[in-house]
Amino acid sequence: MKQLINTFLAILIVAFGLMFLAYRLNSAEGYSGGNTLTIYNWGDYIDPDLLKQFQEETGITVIYQTFDSNEAMLTKVEQGGTVFDVVVPSDYAIAKMREENLLLPLDHSKIPNLTNIDSKFMDLSFDPGNMYSVPYFWGTVGIIYNPDMTEGMDFSSWNSLWDKRLNNEIFLVDGAREVMGMALNSLHYSVNDKNEEHLQEALSKLNKLSPNVKAIVGDEIKMLLANEEASVGIVWSGDASEIMDENDKLDYVVPEEGSNIWFDNMVIPRTAANVEGAHKFINFMLRPDVAAQNTEYVGYSTPNTPALALLPEDISGDERFYPPAEITDRLEVYDNLGKRMLAHYNELFLKFKMNKK
């Protein structure tokens, strides 16, 4: 009995000691002060030094929380319980949040640095006039390939994927919009095509691709490609840059027929407590020096034109991640297709998956 009590006392003492330590650390960082700003962002998606810098410049303490998918983020924002001041969702999630009235309109007069954003990344279909959102990073969907294993094949067209030499050599990312979009693009249609004939055409074209498809996989696609389990993959450019960090033999290309362009954007949820601070933070992130530093840390493509000029040539001049205008002109954002059309896309994609032997 005595031993039980002693042990539990010891546990309590250790726990409260640790709690005190955490409290000291928190107040040393200033987290317990009144003037705070809560940011909800993807994991490892900002240079931590910038948060400190923001704190020093404005005196606002940043509480930083992370999520791993738009869906998870939506659940937490919708349910409430936590107050977030700035959130960084992707394009389609913003369309959804706008529909559900979860966002506050931005006061553009408080974000003078908005002019730094390249005009071609403004006023997009998911948020006309940038009423609610400001671009944070962007990227594309494209082909990553291993030149050693594909013997000099040229992947500048989506149609090269149907080449017989690629038998059982392609990994597809498990996303209906991405795979259907790729098939539609290869037929020179839009990734947002709603024409039933075009969609059926895309499906039968996909079915012809299936002998070449090794697997349709989720996030593990990065590891599989880096380990050279197959020579070709359809991936997002963000994933591609990570894969190439792991294995520098691989190369990435955005096919010339066009592709999807995606955006992660900063928004202010309706429940935000520190709206003033949120605007300050968004404006801070748009400063060229800040955006450049963040781009170097994260490795995705920045929409900030003056920041691009501050970046070393081997980043800003990389056409794989900053493609020339003739390609970016053909890139399309995913429109919100509506529930029924989206379900139809999913169904067609499912049919393709089931047909695959």
Binding site: F8, A22, L25, E29, Y31, G43, D68, Q79, E242, D245
Partner: protein, 277 residues
């Protein structure tokens, strides 16, 4: 001769099992010292990732949060579970007892995601702010059934004549509890505590739903970082936590050895079987 041979095979088997169990952990620890920055080739020895972990105050706070939650929640859960197990044991009707046990087991096998989502809805309705309290409460809640199931077999194993004898010899109810029952079920209490501790340390699904307002735990943080590929600083952090848990276990055995010499029950009876995962 034959029995010796048999022993040899058994030993080889045991060694194999331990190799399989520990190889991934040691693999991970090994690469936490790799200056190359990847898990592919070992280039050279470095302590950079440990420095990174210690230098990252946010990560340190999250790690401390995780440990505090684990220690507190499993201690509270164990206390409640002891009372619960005594109560279940006390119920006379066989049917009522079985119902209680089944209810306890349902909680163990119900999916974490559902428990987490229910807690999120409950907390927001009741108005508990997400953060330390919500995480602690939910961890206590999902740890109790596990601790109960570790403690019950010891209670059932205990001969009822022991308590009767104690009562006959004039022990009060309180004496029976503190001097007879609790010492006998002590191994169950400790295994319940440690089981709850590991559950709390590695739970992601429930914790994800109930963290908020800047309060986070390691599982949630590592999971959202893993999207960008797991950095070696996570290896370093995992190594530190592994060492911490080893220290806990060593501490436990040290306590046991020192105090238990004259007592019975140096070996752990039954108990560990029958818990999922």
């Amino acid at each position: 001769m034959r029995s010796k041979n048999k022993n040899g095979i058994a030993n080889i088997y045991l060694v194999l099992v331990f190799v399989v169990l520990y190889a991934p952990i040691f693999y991970l620890m090994y690469y936490s010292f790799n200056s190359g920055g990847t898990m592919h080739e070992f280039e050279g020895f470095t302590l950079d990732y440990y420095r990174e972990v210690v230098g990252d105050t946010r990560l340190m706070i999250i790690m401390i949060n995780t440990l505090v939650i684990a220690l507190l929640s499993s201690a509270i859960a164990t206390v409640i579970a002891v009372i619960g197990a005594l109560a279940i044991q006390h119920v006379r009707s066989r049917r009522a007892k079985n119902t209680l046990l089944s209810l306890n087991n349902v909680l163990i096998v119900s999916p974490d995601v559902i428990i987490g989502a229910s807690f999120l809805i409950l907390f927001t309705i009741v108005g508990i702010k997400l953060g330390f309290t919500s995480v602690l409460l939910s961890h206590v809640a999902f740890s109790i059934p596990i601790a109960v199931i570790m403690i019950l077999p010891h209670l059932q194993e205990m001969s009822p004549t022991l308590t009767d004898a104690a009562r006959d010899l004039g022990a009060t109810r309180r004496d029976v509890l503190t001097k007879v029952i609790l010492p006998i079920i002590k191994p169950g209490i400790f295994s319940g505590f440690f089981m709850a501790l590991t559950y709390s340390l590695d739970d992601f699904a429930v914790t994800f739903f109930v963290t908020g307002n800047g309060y986070s735990t390691l599982s949630v943080e590592i999971y959202s970082r893993a999207r960008q590929g797991v950095s070696l600083s996570i290896n370093a952090l995992s190594t530190l936590i592994f060492l911490f848990t080893i220290l806990l276990v060593i501490g436990y055995y040290y306590l046991n050895q020192r105090k238990n010499k004259p007592m019975m029950h140096t070996a752990e009876p039954v108990a560990e079987a029958g818990v999922p995962r």
